[in-house]
């Protein structure tokens, strides 16, 4: 297989994500300082200060260290809600898509109602009702993203239901669950994986937004969205305090998007067939 443009994206995405994962895993080793240790006598130091290469924030905490530890949280709140929403939405989509009829219509109308709300607004409402914190943020993100996963899976199921291999499986007398899980699901996995990867990228932004608005992990936890939010107060005096975590969020979101796009090119059978 020659290295095509699509693969370049995939590899770039993987490389970026790999770097962030390494940063997150080895934060303890890599971080030059305690990410929580505030020392106001060293506040608002600029970029490339010796010992504080990305400067310090308004409380004198090392931005690089906070960024490294924040990577853990950033990955967690991007991936975890995706996985949970994928499982829950996937099961719902698979079940109602396969069953069809009233269950299908009722679930889809419910999803329509949830789609009608702007995602961030719904998440804010849920987060506000549950109280700020990491747990309620994840719950809010899961609730907001379930309908999309449900739909993607259901769409795949509806199409696959018509295929001959499904009919063949049914004719062999397999029960519904076996047909759905063993025969339909593996065949529609491609688009689901692609969607999940892209959704993870969107979750990076959603999590950062919720955390920016104060619904995420509470201070002093190093969290990118929150660093952006509090850094904003020093925007005029020390612009890097907000800009650096902002860039980190962008990079992580881009990494997941490249990965998602690459995965689509790789997994989409139509695109594959076009290859010589």
């Amino acid at each position: 297989m020659t290295l095509k443009r699509s693969n370049t994206g995939l590899i770039a995405g993987l490389a970026l994500l790999g770097l962030i994962v390494i940063a997150a895993v080895f934060a303890d080793v890599l971080a030059p300082h305690d990410p929580l240790l505030a020392d106001p006598t060293r506040r608002d130091l600029g970029l490339f200060t010796a010992g504080h290469w990305l400067g310090t924030d308004e409380l004198g905490r090392d931005i690089l260290s906070r960024l490294l530890f924040g990577a853990r949280l950033a990955l967690l709140v991007a991936v975890l809600p995706t996985v949970i929403a994928l499982i829950l939405g996937g099961v719902i989509g698979l079940a109602v898509g396969y069953a069809g009829g009233v269950w299908d219509s009722a679930t889809m109308r419910l999803f329509d109602v949830m789609f009608a709300f702007p995602g961030i607004l719904l998440a804010l409402g849920i987060g506000a009702a549950l109280g700020a914190g990491l747990g309620s943020m994840v719950v809010a993100m899961v609730v907001v993203t379930i309908p999309a996963f449900g739909r993607v899976v259901r769409g795949g199921v509806l199409a696959a239901k018509q295929e001959l291999y499904v009919e063949a499986a049914r004719s062999l007398g397999y029960n519904h669950w076996r047909v759905a899980a063993r025969h339909i699901l593996p065949n529609i996995l491609g688009p689901i994986v692609v969607y999940a990867t892209l959704q993870t990228g969107r979750n990076v932004i959603l999590a950062a937004s919720l955390s920016f608005l104060g619904l995420g992990p509470q201070p002093p936890t190093p969290d990118w969205g929150q660093m952006l939010s509090t850094g904003r107060t020093a925007l005029a005096v020390a612009p890097h305090v907000a800009t650096v975590p902002g860039l980190a969020i962008v990079v992580l979101a881009i990494a997941f998007n490249l990965l998602g796009d690459g995965a689509r090119d790789l997994l989409d059978p139509r695109l594959r067939r076009e290859q010589p």
């Binding site: 505030a38 409380l59 509470q218 020093a234 005096v237």
Partner: protein, 539 residues
């Protein structure tokens, strides 16, 4: 339309559409800017409100945001003179009372009421003033308002009776001599509301109709939004200089500072250190340091374990590195290790140095107090409000210091006005709140409001339920003491006991600077968070 069907035509139409939208947008923006600056003849000042505007009923109010607006709409009987930059307490000058006489036994105050009219056209007379006092202290009067009365009980508890022998004379008779009465009457919360408004509006309704006699009257109040005042042409003190004053809510300190820089707003009445750093040296921006007496603190809930334990509270007073907070705000505040702010009449060195920063000692004292660590404290923290621009960051430092001595903090971050309303009924289910309080020079007013056992909710603002019979006895003796030196010593003794009981975690005194845009005139750095609305003008 054939044109629209071709690809080129569609593109041209799209372009035209975008151009029209942008054009309309520009015009609307232009109109907005025009409206902000007013016509050439109109003089407007925009003041930043740092949190949600509460209902504007002066007698029921706490919190600087609302009182700052009340100050422009209403007059009390007497005011503090804000025209001089002094370090001592401002002089007292006439307001709705044009003069007063105190009887030789110091018990009777006869006020001569000024000839003036309220914004609704009704006449200011002793009868209207009496209705206000009846609202606060006469349970049999149909003007009586329970919530207003509770809020002002510190002042009204001193008063035996009031009367209005004629239209121009209002008499207050005290239970015992009290030299600080006039100072207490300058409180914005002792503002005189129109008698007709009191006839007409009861309970919560009154706040919807803030009708006073001050230099500016209410024009528009969008609930939770902007407050717009217009000149009161009939003001008794001469023609106010401005056509309009707008109080615009800008909760984000950076946005507020940027708006001041670009001329969207004209004044930040209580600025944070980062705002000062952002605007320092900017052309035309003036920084004033009124340095009013104030204290920032964590007020503990004395009804809930473990903050009901005095040894534990004392220990916490050793746990906080106030110098680090000072460094955080570029020296804009002074560390405080006791309950007496500078600017209070009993202030002297030593009284604010009762505790120190000694985490090892704090740890040992917590162990001795019998409170097992790690333990969690739930504390409310304001994220907006006057003097709170850096509250979140300051609190993070406090949190860090408390963690070091084995205390996990569970902060609840709230809008300033929301927090005040949550704590005003007294703490429930939380161990306290991080707050600041600005006060005058008067010892009674500061110490009794904050620490008297009789000032617990629902009667007063002693929201942590502190009570010490010895302290209250000292207050009783101090209040009746005609000799100033002795009186101050009694309050000093009380302050010493309060410091020892540590109902608060004493933190710091903020310089509370004021940022003024290039257009503002007539604001002087008198030692108060308020300023004189009659001299406020534009260049």
């Amino acid at each position: 339309m054939k044109f629209a069907r071709t690809r080129r035509g569609r593109r041209a139409l799209l372009f035209a559409g975008v151009a029209i939208v942008m054009g309309v947008g520009l015009v609307v923006y232009g109109l907005g800017v025009g409206r902000r600056n007013g016509s050439a003849a109109e003089s407007v000042i925009v003041i930043v409100s740092e949190a949600t505007t509460p209902p504007l009923d002066p007698h029921r109010m706490t919190g600087t945001i609302g009182l700052r607006i009340v100050d422009a709409i209403f007059d009390p009987l007497v005011r503090e003179d804000m025209s001089k930059e002094t370090t001592a307490a401002p002089d007292i000058r006439p307001a709705l009372a044009e003069s007063w006489k105190v009887s030789p036994d110091q018990l009777t105050y006869r006020f001569t009421i000024r000839r003036a009219i309220f914004h609704d056209g009704s006449v200011v007379d002793a009868g209207a003033v009496k209705k206000n006092f009846d609202r606060l202290m006469d349970k049999r009067s149909h003007f009586y308002d329970e919530r207003a009365a509770r809020s002002m009980v510190l002042i009204t508890a001193l008063i035996d009776s009031t009367s209005a022998p004629d239209a121009r004379t209002f008499v207050i008779r005290l239970k015992q001599p009290f030299a600080g009465l006039l100072r207490l009457l300058t409180d914005q919360r002792m503002s005189i509301v129109s008698g007709e408004a009191l006839d007409q509006y009861k309970g919560d309704e009154l706040a919807q109709h803030p009708i006073g006699s001050g230099p500016y009257r209410m024009a528009r109040f969008e609930n939770g939004g902007q407050v717009e005042l217009v000149r009161n042409p009939d003001f008794w003190g001469g023609r106010p200089k401005l056509d309009r004053i707008i109080f615009r809510p800008v909760y984000d300190p950076t946005t507020a500072a940027t708006e001041l820089q670009t001329g969207q707003v004209d004044m930040i009445a209580s600025a944070g250190s980062q705002q000062i750093e952002q605007l320092k040296g900017q052309k035309g921006i003036a920084i004033q340091y009124p340095e009013p007496a104030n204290l920032y603190f964590i007020r503990f809930n004395l009804k809930l374990a473990p903050t009901d334990n005095a040894d534990f509270r004392r220990a916490l007073n050793y746990a906080i590195n106030r110098d680090a907070i000072s460094a955080l705000v570029a020296g804009q505040m002074t560390p405080k290790y006791g309950p007496v702010p500078r600017g209070n009449e009993i202030y002297e060195k030593g009284l604010d140095e009762i505790y120190s920063y000694d985490p090892a000692k704090a740890k040992a004292m917590i162990a001795q107090s019998g409170v097992a660590t790690p333990i969690t404290l739930k504390l409310m923290v304001p994220i907006s409000g006057p003097g709170n621009a850096m509250a979140r960051q300051v609190f993070e430092l406090i949190q860090q210091d408390l963690t070091k001595v084995g205390i996990t903090v569970e902060p609840q971050y709230l809008d300033f006005t929301a927090m005040i309303s949550a704590e005003s009924a007294g703490y429930k289910g939380v161990h306290g709140s991080f707050n600041g309080w600005t006060t005058g020079a008067n010892a009674e007013y500061w110490f009794e409001r904050m620490f008297s056992g009789r000032q617990q909710p629902p009667h007063g603002v002693n929201r942590g339920y502190y009570a010490n019979a010895e302290v209250d006895a000292l207050f009783d003796r101090g209040r009746g003491e005609p000799d100033d030196t002795k009186r101050r010593d009694l309050y000093r003794a009380a302050a010493q006991k309060i410091a020892d009981d540590a109902p608060w975690l004493f933190l710091y005194q903020d310089r509370l600077p004021r940022l003024l845009g290039p257009r503002v005139t007539g604001v002087v750095a008198a030692p108060s968070i308020y300023f004189d609305y009659t001299t406020l003008g534009v260049r």
